[in-house]
């Protein structure tokens, strides 16, 4: 037996990383700010996104959204009421979106061109594990946590929280009934991702949405060169 060690040093997700780099370059060229929304199932990504799309549209921004789920186009139909273009991506079993899916859907999306957009939102599949490894070329990764999930979620899923650029606490209207410990939640998020920008919101009452929209506008203006 003649054995040999072959050094490979190849990224396992190299193909995704390369496609994501291509997407990132396209987004920058088109001047569109792209955000990737990640959370557990049931955190309220869709309700939060609905308010975001409506709010930005009311301010005159050009917005679109891609929404990922294993099955059904329920989210896309629900978000269509916001009046902006929304396209559903069904992964049929895959627990995350990847750069190839995003590229394919952007190519096939009739009537939506990146250079005609100010913001593109990508609502990932509800999952706090695998989506953290798949770069979609986004400028900002937003992790969402609802007050009903427990303050220790960031400690339980540190890989996701550590990879995020902004954090959104959702359903703050339910904080009282859930005995939500706000201070502890903020401390835990900061322990995993020190200094991250945190928004406390309720899609139901609208609390915190204006501050969030202001952040989006500032981020877009800062990157628009």
């Amino acid at each position: 037996m003649t054995t040999r060690i072959v050094e490979l040093r190849r990224g396992i997700l190299k193909k995704n990383d390369e496609l994501a780099a291509g997407l990132r370059a396209n987004y920058a060229k088109a001047g569109v700010l792209v955000l990737n929304l990640v959370s557990s199932p049931g955190t309220g990504k869709t309700a939060f996104l609905e308010q975001t799309l409506k709010g930005l549209k009311a301010k005159g921004a050009r917005v679109a959204a891609l929404v990922g789920d294993l099955e059904t186009d329920n989210d896309a139909r629900r978000l269509a009421s916001s009046g902006v273009p929304v396209r559903q991506i069904n992964t049929h079993g895959t627990c995350h979106l990847d750069a190839e899916m995003i590229g394919k859907h952007l190519d096939e999306w009739a009537g939506v061109a990146l250079d005609q957009l100010d913001f593109l939102f990508i609502e990932n599949v509800g999952n706090l594990v695998c989506p953290s490894s798949y770069d979609l070329g986004e400028a900002i990764r937003v992790v969402l946590l609802s007050v009903t999930e427990g303050e220790d979620k960031p400690l339980k899923y540190p890989t996701m929280f550590n990879s995020a650029d902004a954090a959104v606490i959702t359903k703050t209207d339910l904080a009282g009934p859930c005995d939500f410990n706000r201070g502890l939640a903020l401390k835990n998020i900061n322990e995993i991702r020190p200094g991250i920008r945190i928004f406390e919101t309720s899609a139901k009452t609208g609390v915190g949405i204006d501050e969030w929209l202001g952040y989006l506008e500032t981020e877009r203006a800062n990157r628009d060169h």
Partner: protein
């Protein structure tokens, strides 16, 4: 993910016709969202019928290393529950190691090439 490992390794065997893979070594950062046991389980299934069948998968987990601006040096974290410098306790956001997800090397048996 494992499918990508098997494909990449199979492609890398082109210069070694007939070679059999004995071991595949992965380097996985503690922040890579990967569970070594799950990888090993899937590996056996995906490797079936490929030159990797019967080989060992070795997952080397790398700890997180952060750069502390306060101490101006890199420091290894004991876990991923707190991103603070172990020396001075200051919060650290500058991750220098821990997100790796790569195939480091493979060990192959070339004997069959000559047979």
């Amino acid at each position: 993910m494992i499918t990508s490992v098997v494909e990449t390794v199979t492609e890398s065997l082109a210069p070694y016709p007939g070679a059999k893979v004995l071991e595949v070594r992965l380097k996985v950062g503690a922040l890579a969202s990967v569970i070594p046991e799950s990888l090993e389980f899937c590996y056996g299934i995906v490797a079936e019928g490929t030159p990797l069948e019967g080989s060992r998968l070795v997952v080397n987990v790398l700890p997180v290393v952060v750069h502390c601006a306060h101490c101006d040096q890199d420091a290894e974290l004991e876990g991923i529950q707190s991103f603070r410098c172990p020396q001075c306790g200051e919060p650290c956001n500058d991750v220098r190691q821990g997100r790796e997800l790569e195939i480091d090397s493979i060990e192959i048996d070339e004997a069959k090439e000559r047979a």
